[in-house]
């Protein structure tokens, strides 16, 4: 049954997933290319210096890319469910509805994680060749809250999308925007260090919100 749920989500998301992998990795690759050009033009030493002394991370373009990827993933996945109330079909299947909803969310999270893993793979393939471990860690630590924001954006958009009434949808959207702000308070290396595990925990707990929307959908709120 879980396989079937994932199969359906995969059919919805596969083209988007491919596009997301290409675009996000493309942006990551572009950042690295710029860095490579800078190393060529100004020398590796200059890059190391601005990274150590000025907290530069060179992947600033990536900042909102995972968030966007997450939001779009949720739209691609849940708009078809809300179109003409298709979700009724999904919830009517002989599978516990909570398991159904959380499996759908898990499918999206797994695909997003795959997409982000490719990004990080791209970075890890290049960065250690020109940077010491400290600076690679700096770059990844600056990017970590952005990637968490990608998951948060996904789960919050799912919550907004699944909500059956427009009034609350707008409310949820505003709340979601404020929540996402918490992931962008310091675009510098290691700022989120100690807080990151808690933020990650909170991020994945955001999946609980979707169940509120689905419960309201089930109660026929209009």
């Amino acid at each position: 049954m879980l396989q079937a749920i994932f199969y359906k989500e995969w059919i919805k998301l596969r083209w988007y997933f491919l596009l997301a992998v290409l675009v996000t990795s493309g942006v990551a690759g572009y950042c690295l290319l710029r860095m490579d050009r800078a190393i060529e033009l100004k020398g590796a030493a200059h890059i190391w210096e601005v990274m150590v002394l000025k907290d530069a991370v060179f992947i600033d373009y990536m900042q909102f890319v995972p968030l966007l990827a997450g939001i779009l993933a949720a739209l691609v996945q849940f708009m078809p469910e809300m179109q003409r109330k298709c979700l009724k079909l999904t919830l009517h299947l002989p599978c516990p509805q909570q398991r159904m909803v959380f499996s759908m969310l898990a499918s999206g999270v797994v695909l997003l994680a795959g997409c982000f893993a490719v990004n990080i793979g791209v970075m890890l393939a290049y960065l250690p060749t020109v940077l010491p471990a400290e600076l690679t860690r700096n770059i990844l630590s600056a990017a970590a809250p952005w990637y968490l924001a990608g998951f948060a954006g996904y789960l919050l958009t799912a919550w907004v999308c699944l909500e059956p009434t427009w009034k609350l949808r707008v409310c949820n959207l505003l709340i979601g925007a404020l929540v996402v702000r918490a992931y962008y308070l310091a675009p510098v290396p290691q700022a989120y260090n100690g807080f990151l595990p808690w933020l990650a925990l909170y991020t994945f707990a955001l999946s609980l919100l979707a169940w509120i929307s689905v419960s309201r959908f089930k109660a026929g709120k209009q």
Binding site: G43, A44, A45, W48, E49, M51, V52, L53, Q98, T129, V130, L131, P132, E134, L135, N138, P145, I175, L178, V179, A182, L185, A186, V188, P189, Q190, A191, Y192, N193, G194, F195, A205, L208, L209, W211, I212, S215
Partner: protein, 342 residues
């Protein structure tokens, strides 16, 4: 499940409220706080407070309330307003019986600033060691960076991103020979070419012992600097002021403020307390006196020190308006971390 979900939503809403509402309030109501500039005048033997008063304009007065004109203040702080006095051809030939020249004033004046956010900040753990006796006049950034490990120091050639085993071994051996225990607790230096000379780094080793490390003609120079009895170092700051009289500052675990002289001797100053993790420090120093400002939340402590023995001459507390609204915040002016705090 729905109950857990709703509780989670309400907790989120509550957190957003205590975070965003005070922020909005502060954003809408904050006015520019009246700031005062305070300097100690040895000529007056008191502080001069320059500030802006609504409706009156710029006021200059001493703590007793006597007001001074701009012209008078220039003369009362001749070393600080030297350029103005020189331009007005009012700069004195001597002060307190000592001949002074503008060049000398420029050489010996300094200012030093340290914010808690610079102390409470994540460290990358990579450092650049400049040549302290360069062949050319200008300083140059090195071609390698170094890091400390549990066993030693490791230099990495930046262009190739590979370790320089020979140099690493030389420095590690030198440090070990001088009794340095890896890894260091604190490393303080100013790796930039925008300074007159390079003094390398001040290091606190794993045992809290103080060392001075620099590179002299390509070779390591390491000097242990014994701490006075009863002093346990917590923070060190390498200064590199123009007059080369000081190596740096040292703050001990009891927040006492010490000066590390160029010869390595450590002298306690008259500053009663300074906690780098909480207070902001500003020092304006010159030939005769230092004006030290230790800003704590709600109050600025001003201390006047004699420049020769760092003894406390005078102090002044000025309360500062705190317009902080209680609430939740994720960032703080006191550190560079993101985490929730009230």
């Amino acid at each position: 499940m729905i109950r857990i979900s709703k509780i989670f939503l309400f907790v989120t809403l509550a957190v957003l409220a205590v975070w965003q509402l005070p922020w909005c309030y502060a954003f809408l109501t904050t006015k520019a706080a009246p700031s005062r500039f305070v300097m100690y005048s040895s000529l007056l033997d008191d502080f001069i407070l320059t500030g802006y008063t609504e409706g009156v304009g710029i006021t200059r007065q001493d703590p007793a309330g006597h007001t001074y004109s701009e012209h008078e203040v220039d003369s009362l702080l001749p070393l600080f307003y030297m350029r103005q006095l020189v331009a007005d051809e009012r700069f004195p030939d001597s002060l307190f019986g000592v001949a002074v020249s503008p060049r000398e004033v420029q050489q010996t004046s300094f200012n030093f600033r340290m914010r808690p956010s610079a102390v409470n900040a994540p460290q990358t753990g990579l450092y650049f060691l400049l040549e302290s006796m360069p062949k050319r006049v200008d300083l140059e950034m090195p071609a390698d960076a170094f890091r400390f490990t549990g066993e030693g120091v490791e230099f990495i050639v930046m262009d190739t991103n590979t370790p320089d085993a020979g140099k690493s071994a030389r420095y590690t051996r030198m440090l070990s020979d001088k009794g340095f225990r890896f890894p260091p607790r604190e490393v303080s230096g100013n790796p930039t070419t925008m300074k007159e000379y390079d003094n390398g780094y001040l290091l606190l080793d794993a045992d809290g012992k103080l060392f001075h490390l620099k590179q002299t003609v390509g070779q390591p120079y390491v000097k242990p600097l014994p701490l006075p009895d009863g002093v346990e170092a917590e923070h060190v700051f390498l200064t590199e002021f123009r007059d080369r009289q000081l190596l740096g500052f040292l703050i001990d675990t009891e927040h006492r403020f010490h000066v590390i002289r160029a010869d390595g001797t450590i002298v306690r100053t008259g500053i009663p307390a300074y906690d780098p993790a909480r207070d902001q420090l500003t020092i304006f120093g010159n030939l005769f006196d230092w004006t030290v400002c230790v800003s704590s939340p709600g109050v600025n402590h001003y201390y006047a020190l004699r420049a020769d023995d760092y003894a406390l001459v005078k102090s002044l507390d000025v309360e500062t308006a705190s317009d902080e609204v209680p609430g939740l915040s994720f960032t703080s002016p006191y550190d560079r971390y993101v985490r929730p705090r009230f």
